[in-house]
């Protein structure tokens, strides 16, 4: 899978006093991503590191089609499963089961397709009978497990993971890593954002360092992390 990701403008801040009367317009243009050009290939886990506010989430959102690039071009081949925030579509009042169907629909599945995968999803999440309880009763770990399970049940061609692997206990983290690895071997492309350097080193074939919207380093994870750390001093 190949894609090019370019510049983008975000956050023009406008204030209108009263519509018909006087307008006081304050405009600040802010480039969240500036001249970023990347290619991510099939069967590759690509890591993204950088400080908060560097533009990592923005980059992921542009790929996930949540945001449209102001300039430049994004091309994505295949089905995308974004994990930008666990339980994005979850509604607290609904049960785990109902939320599975809702979330699958958000990811673009029909009811029947979800039915076929249902048992598998519940099994991976290890929620057992809790699946029939409203998710406002869940712990954050259970939330994470359900979210990850639904998103990855789809066997996506592109998986986008934004800093969520931190939640959940050791055994779950292990399961996630195994699943990501399985996808990778099957030819999917995975974009991984994390603040946990060991995870990046362990899981990624290539990585990049994004700082204030600019691509500062790209290549082997170890080297990129080194450059990133040096940049912090």
């Amino acid at each position: 899978m190949r894609y090019h990701v370019p510049s983008e403008r975000i956050g023009t801040f406008k204030e209108y006093m009263i519509r018909a009367i006087q307008r006081q317009i304050k405009m600040r243009t802010f480039w969240a991503l500036n001249d970023v050009s990347l290619e991510v290939n099939r069967g590759e886990v690509f890591g993204l590191v950088g400080n908060n506010g560097a533009g990592k989430s923005t980059l992921l959102k542009v790929v996930a089609r949540v945001l449209r690039p102001t300039k430049g071009r994004v091309v994505v081949w295949g089905r995308v499963a974004p994990l930008l925030e666990l339980g994005a579509g979850f509604h607290p009042e609904l049960t785990g089961k109902e939320n599975i169907f809702l979330n699958s629909a958000l990811l673009g599945f029909t009811h029947r397709e979800t039915l076929e995968k249902y048992d598998q999803i519940v099994e991976f999440s290890e929620l057992g009978d809790f699946i029939n309880a409203p998710i406002r009763t869940y712990s954050s770990g259970m939330y994470a497990r359900l979210g990850f399970s639904v998103a990855t049940s789809s066997e996506p061609d592109v998986l986008i993971v934004d800093e969520i692997l931190g939640v959940g206990d050791e055994s779950f983290r292990q399961k996630c890593q195994t699943r990501i690895e399985t996808f990778r071997q099957r030819g999917a492309a995975i974009l991984l954002v994390s603040h946990d350097m060991p995870t990046i080193q362990k899981m990624c074939q290539r990585a990049a360092w994004l700082d204030h919207g600019v691509l500062k380093a790209i290549g082997e994870p170890e080297r990129v992390i080194q450059i990133y750390r040096q940049g912090q001093e």
Binding site: K61, V66, V74, V76, W77, V80, H91, H111
Partner: protein, 272 residues
């Protein structure tokens, strides 16, 4: 991989068309969203589904008590009132819901791609479910007060279609406005209130002096409500002169609203 779908941001398809295609493609999602709205509304409420029916019924009882002496010429005022009220509630609730779901549902927009029109369409869908439920007390009242339900009632689906189109178009248009100007949401409630009084729902058209009746005729909802009440309450087949203004208004609003919405829908994720 099985799927060969490609996303290319440089692909320049006209927005209105693309949104339509996407919305159709995501119809399973829209169904789930409607289901979510219905389920969450009733999960924690004691009376549950009954409340959808009790609400218009309650209003009708109060209004009838107050007005039926004034409008004694109307054959079965409660039925007259309720017929109009049921349609009005659908319109006002679904357009308001369309607006609020887009403005407050922003979190979802920022996490995953879903066609923006999903919010509006699912709001209309939920409104439809409530409307169908409201038919139960309506029919009961009509029967109880001796208003015959004639064969002309089979025309209702057409009237409903026009109502749905108009509501969707308006809902999409005001949603767009509300994203940019949040106070639109408040203003709309007040506008709705005035609008209802400008539509002959509580009062029959005949109660208004002739010279002011033209004001009523400038109100688009006038035609839609008339077309709604004629086959159901009056038991008449609507004439062509009743039908074409309603059709024009309904489809016109839908097209206009759709275009306004889709021309701006790319920017929503930034604004919410």
């Amino acid at each position: 991989m099985q799927s060969t779908s490609v996303y290319d941001s440089a692909n320049k398809v006209p927005h209105a068309l693309q949104e339509l295609r996407e919305a159709l493609g995501h119809r399973h999602l829209i169904f789930q969203l409607v289901r979510r709205d219905i389920l969450t509304r009733y999960k924690r409420s004691f009376l549950g589904v009954a409340w959808t029916m009790l609400n218009p019924l309650g209003i009708m009882v109060v209004m009838s008590f107050v007005f039926s002496q004034i409008f004694s010429a109307v054959h079965s005022y409660p039925a007259f009132l309720l017929t109009g009220l049921v349609a009005w509630n659908f319109f006002s609730q679904s357009t308001t819901a369309a607006m609020y779901s887009l403005v407050w549902g922003g979190g979802l927009l920022q996490r995953i791609y879903i066609p923006r029109a999903s919010f509006g369409i699912s709001a209309i869908g939920s409104g439809l479910v409530n409307l169908l439920l409201a038919f139960v007390p309506l029919v009961i009242v009509m029967v109880a007060t001796g208003v015959p339900i004639r064969i002309t009632a089979v025309f209702m689906p057409v009237s409903l279609l026009f109502l749905v189109c108009f509501s969707l178009g308006l809902g999409l248009a005001i949603s767009t406005l509300a994203i940019y100007f949040p106070d639109v949401a408040e203003m709309y409630q007040i506008i709705l209130l005035a609008w209802m009084y400008l539509t002959p729902i509580i009062y029959p058209e005949t109660a208004i002096p002739k010279q002011y009746q033209t004001v009523l005729h400038c109100n688009p909802m006038y035609y839609l409500i008339q077309l709604w009440r004629l086959p159901l309450y009056d038991g008449r087949w609507p004439a062509w002169s009743d039908i074409w203004p309603a059709a024009a208004i309904a489809f016109g609003m839908l097209v206009v609203g759709w275009f306004i919405f889709t021309s701006k829908s790319d920017e929503f994720a930034y604004r919410v």
